[in-house]
């Protein structure tokens, strides 16, 4: 009896989630495979023709295969900046949480400001120019790290607070402190939140749109979100191609998520934290 009820509940959850979260995606997919004239209607009508391959090729080939270059650029930027972000952010959040005082209060305030203040585009360009990093991938990577650091630190700090201090004490008795304490003892315990930070900031950086537009101009530097502009302009939009592009650039992060989703489960069964 209980099993039946359980099954029923699962079915309900499944149907609800699917309707709420997947119907909009169905609409995107549907529009992506329509011809241009019909796509303008932006509705659920069944496609009158199915130019799937044509749309796909049109999007891939547009502007000399800019989308493929964009995949490469976006991947490099995302992987590099998320790596730095996780290491830098977790380290800083660790001292911030463990060592209260004036410095921590200042750091705390800066973390909040980083969340609150939008980046100032033009001065950032000046600065990157002065460093010789404007229009370069390293420049873009450092900028993404700087812009997402607050988010990473906030999450890390909150979760480090949940790690008992007794653990530090024990490690210290074993002669482990500072960087070693952090990397050997604390960091491994942060696995669930690290995965969350990786997941969320990769998505945000991969999907970042405004910063690359200004800090990384030029077709050779295109990133995936900027390719949406190939099909959408102020006056005309090729909706079918736009949505095909959206579908194509949404797939890599989706794969990433499905991959990490397993990791989360693995992290859980490993029972990371023992009190």
């Amino acid at each position: 009896m209980r099993a039946v009820r359980r099954l029923g509940a699962e079915a309900v959850a499944l149907v609800l989630a699917t309707v709420i979260f997947l119907v909009p995606f169905a609409l995107m997919l549907l529009t992506a495979v329509k011809d241009q004239t019909q796509a303008v209607d932006l509705d659920f009508a069944w496609p009158t023709s199915w130019p799937v391959v044509e749309n796909f090729l049109a999007v891939i080939e547009a502007r000399d295969y800019i989308l493929l270059r964009a995949y490469v650029n976006s991947t490099i930027i995302t992987v590099a900046s998320v790596t730095l972000l996780v290491i830098f952010g977790a380290m800083a959040a660790f001292v911030l949480q463990r060592r209260p005082g004036k410095v921590a209060r200042l750091a705390d305030f800066l973390v909040l400001s980083g969340l609150i203040i939008p980046p100032a585009v033009v001065p950032t360009i000046w600065l990157l120019q002065a460093l010789g990093l404007f229009k370069t991938l390293p420049g873009m990577i450092l900028a993404e790290v700087a812009f997402h650091l607050s988010f990473a630190m906030l999450l890390f700090r909150a979760f480090i607070a949940a790690i008992p201090r007794e653990l530090d004490e024990a490690a210290q008795i074993d002669g482990c402190s500072g960087f070693r304490l952090f990397f050997r003892v604390i960091f491994p315990l942060l696995r669930p939140v690290t995965i969350t930070v990786i997941l969320v900031s990769s998505v945000n950086i991969f999907n970042d749109f405004v910063n690359p537009l200004y800090l990384l101009p030029g077709d050779e530097n295109a990133t995936v979100q900027v390719t949406l502009y190939n099909f959408q302009s102020q006056y005309n939009t090729q909706w079918n191609l736009l949505f095909m592009d959206i579908v194509l650039i949404t797939i890599p992060p989706l794969i990433l998520f499905v991959f990490f989703n397993r990791k989360i489960v693995a992290g859980m069964t490993a029972g990371a934290i023992k009190g």
Binding site: E10, L14, F21, L22, P24, L27, M28, L42, D43, I87, F88, M91, A92, F94, V95, L96, R98, R99, G101, V103, D108, F109, L112, G114, L115, I116, I117, P119, A120, P123, T124, W126, L127, L142, V145, A146, F147, L149, L154, L155, A158, A161, D168, Q172, S177, P192, T196, L199, F209, Q225, L242, I246, T250, P253, L254, F257, R262, I264, M268, K274
Partner: protein
Amino acid sequence: MTQQETGPRTGSGTPTGKGHARPAARRRSAYPYALYLPAAVVFVVIFLVPTAMAFYFALTRWTLFDSEFVGLQNFRDFLAEQNLRIGFQNTIIYAVVTSGLKVVLGLLLGVLLTSRLKVRGFLRSVVFFPTLVSTVAVGITFAMLLKPQTGLVNQALALVGIDGRDWLGDAATALLSVALVDVWKGVGLATVIYIAGIMSIPTEYYQAVAVDGGGAWHRFRHVTLPLSWPATYSVIILSFIGGLRSFDLIWTMTRGGPGFTSDTIASIIYKQYQAGFFGLSTAGNVILFLVVTAIAVPLNYYLGKRQVAA
């Protein structure tokens, strides 16, 4: 034990400043400030310095090509903006609605998706999926779904006999419609944070409840809810500040319209920026910064205190 615990707290930055009652090997703090260094360098150089420069330009009439010092004129102009009052109201409503719903729904989904549900893995992907889709795409898609006659939402409502309206074209519903879409897009993030939070709870606590013979509600009320506080804290701060600053979804879906009825402070600033009023929009950002700080710092302090307590 007590001594050890207070040690790091009182630790000053100077390497020689303490060390009483401590073995020489552990004279230095276990938490050296050097750990801040890489983050601090990147943050200060790439973010803080440009921000400080920009704040100077808030005092100027700035065309990007040249600037003229005008004192506080930009601040006066910004505060005299015609739609600032509506914008302010909308900002608060938007932030409260979106962050409130994200906390509640995120927690519920987090609990659901860490339970022994068979379809858990699939559901997680489904719930997180909207977060992956770019804001532009979400905006366009929901604009389609919310269209007055042909939109799926109104067609569905018509089936149950409700007469839908032009959700985004109607001043009464535009802002709330966008806020709900924001929740749709952002709840996946909140859920993932909650999943991490719930999974960080040591299993011993649950075992203890099980030993005491507590039921599911008891487990939720006395273990999950209080011990996932780091997640709650993060979700509240992130989504509330995010909500106060939000304009991108509003911009793609309504452009602050119809007219100016769904403008928020951030969208007013964005419009000024788009119009090339760089000094004025920077002044707006400074004001928004002050407003958000005035709300977020006490909130952060309050929530942080609870965090220590928990």
